[in-house]
Amino acid sequence: MRRDGRVGLAHRRLSIIDLAGGQQPMSNEDGSLWTTYNGEIFNYLELRKDLEARGHRFRTKSDTEVILHAYEEYGDSCVDRFNGQWAFAIWDARKARLFLSRDRLGVRPLFFTIADGHFIFASEIKAIFCHRAVPRAIDPEALDQVFTFWHTQPPRTIFRDVQIIPPGHSMAVEAGKVRSWPYWRLDYALNDAPVDEAALTAQLRELLVDATRLRLRADVPVGAYLSGGLDSTVITGIIKRFTDTPLKTFSVVFEDAEFDESGYQDEAIRHLETEHHQVKCTKADICRVFPDVIWHTETPILRTAPAPLFILSDLVRQHGYKVVLTGEGSDEMLGGYDLFKEAKIRRFWGAQPKSRCRPLLLKRLYPYMKNLQSQSDSYLRAFFHVDAEKLNDPLFSHIPRWDLTAKLKSFFSGDVLAALRARDAVADMRSALDTRFPTWTPFAQAQWLETTGLLPGYILSSQGDRMSMAHSVEGRFPFLDHRVVEFSSRLPPRLKMKGLDEKYLLKRAAKDLVPAAVLRRPKQPYRAPDAESFFAGGKAREEYVDELLSAKRLRDDGLFDPGSVSLLLEKVRRGRAIGVKDNMAFVGILSTQLCLAKFVEETGVN
């Protein structure tokens, strides 16, 4: 804790670099700059050398001190030199100015509010709520966004009076004014140079190796997640091949074959000879930990998929590890998601709507979705919004997902629907597109929507940072090294998805690093059992489920329609909620009710 009359900074540390010397809040030599900082600047050794050459003297071996000296030397633009994941504030006493910044892709969170004449910031919303002047209320417009996009759009959070600094932004608080600006933006303008596939393959590999090498920097042992998918296996393969790090890897396995990937995990473990630890996640586990999961996500979620990762980070911590590398970001940067493939097929079909063969590709894309296999073309065309007129819609790739999710809004109460009458979350999204968006390829447009939307809003937060940090484990993501991101975004789409072969260039770059079975496997989206996790034999497994979804509680809370929820509940209880929509509705409503109970009403549950 540090106070100097106008400003108070506080810090709770997870010590990873310079365990003894890196205490925070930390100041420069003359005490004119103070910082509190969450995250890692992976290239701190190189930056330090540069700063020493410019006359800066260091007292510690920490990356925290590098931030202070880099700010002294370069001012606000110091962040342009950082390779890492950060959320920090620097109090510049001479200028009476607070400078805050958040990393480019949004790995580390940074929330703020203005209440009672104070600017309050923290890396968790619950810390902000410790200030009694901050009102606690759910924002209906934020709820509308969650029930459309799966997440809120920064700077909005689910709480009306708390905001989040968007990824890639810095902020200054000075003379009573708050101003924020983007210091970095994604750009998908294609390279002018002729495409030399072999050279690009080598370049991607080199970048990934260096990104991984930098992310192994720590004064504590570093482990890795091994999901059985391509991305985490590539990262583990790189660690194995290019470093001396003794390898411990971790994974989740499921009882249900629909979700379980242990077969591919075993292939990877055998091939890479890692010391592997796994934890089995049951439906009962998901139900049991779910209230704690929401305590950490600090926002409603529509899937239970974060819960197994909460359990996994606990396993990591039990083994004494504080840092793990994972494959996050690869699907967004290098073109892995089914959504990209789906958009490509829909576009292909939409160009020839009468084709009998083109719809077959959609069935091939989702072999595991039994409900699609028997559908006629006219149904497929409707479900996938295949329509020649929609081909030029800038949001073409994401409309089916958002449209499906937005159906869940029918569960909102009359009051919430009335408050939202004039709102249209998708229209807001349309008007918030990057000005260069129309100049990019359709594939890149879909990538941008995914990389600025779901990635920071859900994948890196609810499913990433919040789940690992819940057990004081730090995730590090080589695919999100900004050099990898900048390189990938300028690649032609055909090197990301060749025909319907996803992550084409990555597979070429990593083919000798991963077992052939993992290289060739069909992609399986990471999922966990949803609504079914909360019931057994027609009864809720835990009391909180009945309590939070009772008609009385729903009526008192006022966000959802008790009649509709009771029909949904009945359907789930009887094991009849088999569709994505019903499952998302159930998890979304339950997690919103948990947010209310834990943060707004503070009644707690369990």
Binding site: Q375, Y379, F383, S564, K581
Partner: protein
């Protein structure tokens, strides 16, 4: 065991199923028996399967893959006609 319904109340049963299972009790008033499920966004790909499951169980009919067409299944009245035709045949 519930009685198998007569052809007169088939539309009513189907309507109730659609309102309870897909609309969760809402929109009952402004949803007519001729409204298209697809145009109103009432069914998705799983919804079709749920509907088939309900028809097979409740009306003791068999629905073949080639029957899965909007002509048969895209409104309460179309479904009712389809069910009655199946039961007659």
């Amino acid at each position: 065991m519930e009685m198998v319904p007569t052809s007169e109340n088939v539309p009513e049963e189907i309507r109730r199923f659609v309102i309870n299972s897909f609309l969760f009790g809402k929109d009952g008033a402004d949803f007519s028996n001729d409204d298209s499920f697809l145009e109103k966004g009432i069914v998705d790909s799983t919804g079709i399967l749920e509907l088939i499951g309900f028809l097979e169980e409740r009306f003791q009919i068999k629905v073949a893959d080639e029957d899965l067409l909007p002509e048969n299944l895209d409104s309460v009245n179309r479904v009712a006609a389809f069910v009655n035709q199946k039961r007659a045949g």
